[in-house]
Symmetry: C4
Subunit: 246 residues, 4 copies
């Protein structure tokens, strides 16, 4: 099972969505919850969509195991709701006979990076050693917030061997408050994940999206830098000489 819900820079969700699309995954279960945000979405054709989480089944010809993808258009609001969704999903995973869980997530860094490093954590040390062979850098501190992290932790607690892969992204927010979806970070993560899973998917469409998001992020970085410079200049011109401000 691969999990990816909306989170920083949309990395986890885009991973899951892209896998489903490329592997022609079939939606076989929808999860609705009172714990989701209280609004509905309007689709392009004018019809309504409730917030929900979804399970897709991807028949995998080459590998001995098929793939289940858990994704959706939202995360639960409250801590209780997030635990509930994670617990429910892992219970479901056990029922479906899932033998390994791959959680995806974003690894937020301060500045845009040329080539995003993929960091990793796992339910046990032997999996950590395996990850190193795929170029994944093991984490040794920190925390992973939200349902993407909880799915990974609850799976480990429930004795499902589990791995969390996190791709570096500056996680810029648009003026609207929405994150810029970082397809470049997603691509780096999927390259590692598909090699671990031993599957091949067409990366071209993602590659184009990655170039686009790289451009957007570069521009946002420029705007941010210019703003910082101007604020500094303005502050300098106003500050009484010899004073230090904190």
């Amino acid at each position: 099972m691969v999990t990816g819900l909306p989170g920083a820079a949309g990395v986890a969700k885009l991973c899951a969505d892209y896998l489903v699309k490329q592997l022609k995954g079939e939606l076989f279960e929808e999860l609705y919850s009172d714990a989701f945000p209280p609004h509905i979405l309007i689709q392009k054709d004018g019809t309504v969509e409730l917030l929900r989480n979804e399970l897709y089944y991807c028949k995998n010809g080459k590998s001995k195991n098929d793939l289940i993808v858990f994704t959706g258009n939202t995360q639960a609001v409250s801590p209780e709701g997030q635990y509930e969704v994670a617990n429910e999903t892992i219970t479901q995973a056990k029922r479906l006979g899932v033998v390994k869980l791959f959680a995806t997530a974003a690894y937020v860094v301060e500045k845009p990076v040329e080539t995003p490093t993929v960091h990793g954590a796992a339910s046990d040390v032997t999996l950590i050693e395996e990850l190193k062979q795929f170029g994944v850098v093991p984490m040794d501190t920190g925390s992973i917030t939200g349902t993407n992290g909880l799915l990974f932790g609850v799976a480990a607690l429930q004795n499902i061997p589990s791995i969390c892969l996190l791709s570096e992204t500056p996680a810029y927010a648009m003026p609207t408050g929405r994150f810029v979806v970082d397809a470049k970070a997603t691509k780096a993560l999927l390259e590692v994940l598909t090699r671990i899973l031993g599957i091949e998917i067409d990366m071209k469409p993602l590659d184009e999206q990655a170039k686009l998001s790289e451009e957007v992020i570069r521009r946002m970085e420029e705007i941010e830098q210019r703003t910082i410079d101007e604020v500094r200049k303005a502050a300098a011109s106003r500050a009484p000489k010899g004073q230090m401000y904190t």
Copy 2:
């Protein structure tokens, strides 16, 4: 069933209230909930009223279907509470044999409009086509927040054909934090809704209220514009020359 709870510019609630009044609807059910805000209201005669939601029955002589109106003086506070009220109401709607649900809502725009456009969404594309014939502009993006949106979405999920009509309003807030009730937006919505329902109601009292609220909104727009102008002038007089502020 027509639904309309308090929300932006009071459009949805006034729609429901006006329908009940004009169609001489009878209150047949009250809904109290721990999820409502924890206060009580005092009425003109000094008696107390709890926050509640209500179901009214409107006998409809001309149409083959009668009308049920769902309204109230409050919305639930928490996401869980809002989902609970929506789920409960739609369960009740199924029990009552409701064949179509019309949710009302506000479509918030930045500036006051001469003639408010009525936007719409629906549970399926054939209903969207029907809406166009009544001059409704189909939405193709965005979200609808709160119980008014959830009622629409949950009805669709529960296979009740459902339509959401949203009327344009600038949704001005009074200095007290309360919305100016926009009767003009309400009137535009009710004109469409009554034509779809094939019923006729006296629009005169609403028309007078609409003129009043148009006047109030025009004045608030003026005040806002004047405030913006003054703040700009003041900022210009203070700003060191050649500096740009963000």
Copy 3:
């Protein structure tokens, strides 16, 4: 039954506490709840007290009905918790055969008043008429927030004739964030309440406390006025001439 939980200016709680003390009420039930704030109190002798609500029984020799007082050292935090406490208490009141409920509360005004007016609301209009005969000014608008208001509203909904008495207070907050307990407002309320109940209690200790709190409130009013004056002077000396600020 008389109810009074902590709220604005401590008026309601002091009403309940003073009644219990003067009528030598006996504690016969304690109510603990997960919905109360998560802390414990230390008493003068070093022992611990959990947050709780309490029911006291006051034998009333002169009247045909005895008195039950509902009070405590806290209110529930969440809306759900406040409704839960109110519902639970009124269910208990019905079990105990309560025939009339008197809720106490504060009526917050902007400035200190010489003689606090007691405002009132009730479950039905005949009770409003009775209140007028005791000098109570009927409310005709507004809302009453928190458990003190909900107890009154839920009692009315459950067909217990109920009255809410609210005494005027400026509800000053101390620099620590705690309210100044307004014993003068409390005294005004208790004078009305005891006359309605047909009981007599010794008002002297409350009278002394009332003088003290009047003095404290007078001083806080002075400090506030001086602060406002200074801020205005400072603003005037800084403001560019001819500018208006909003």
Copy 4:
């Protein structure tokens, strides 16, 4: 039973952790809850740890009673969750035959102190008298916030003789928002606690940690003082003469 969860200056948690380490406590129960914050922790070896509370069993050769230590890496978020954890733990304590409960906590003071005083509260006055003989200063007012306080209060309510020991600490927050763990305060508390329990533990490692945290706190105090001085100077140079600011 000794309890100590994360809280101000990490005093309570370090008390519990240090006891477990020195007494070679064995973990015999883990408590997971939906009420904990929704994130997971990454350990040094790259493996994942869920937020949880723990019960350790410490065989105590010299004393007639063994020791159970309750600790963990988190506290519940919501009031309801904190009460739930406290209630659950005390129910468990009764089942395990706990005869006395010692809750640990921080007593936050404004400035660093040379020798932290240990304050105390208890379930009854005879325990207060006993505490005095160990140099503990009885509290006579105030409140104790969070699960550390609730465990103490709920134990008392459930008729387990219980004591709360609170050690003085300035509870400085790091720029990251995390508290500086105050090992000096912890040491003062543990010296009292071990004497009451009649056990001996090696204090040397804690002593070194205490010196370190004393140094960190001294520096933070300096930084704070310098910042205050600079802000004052800057304000003085800007302020119009003869004005008083509040």
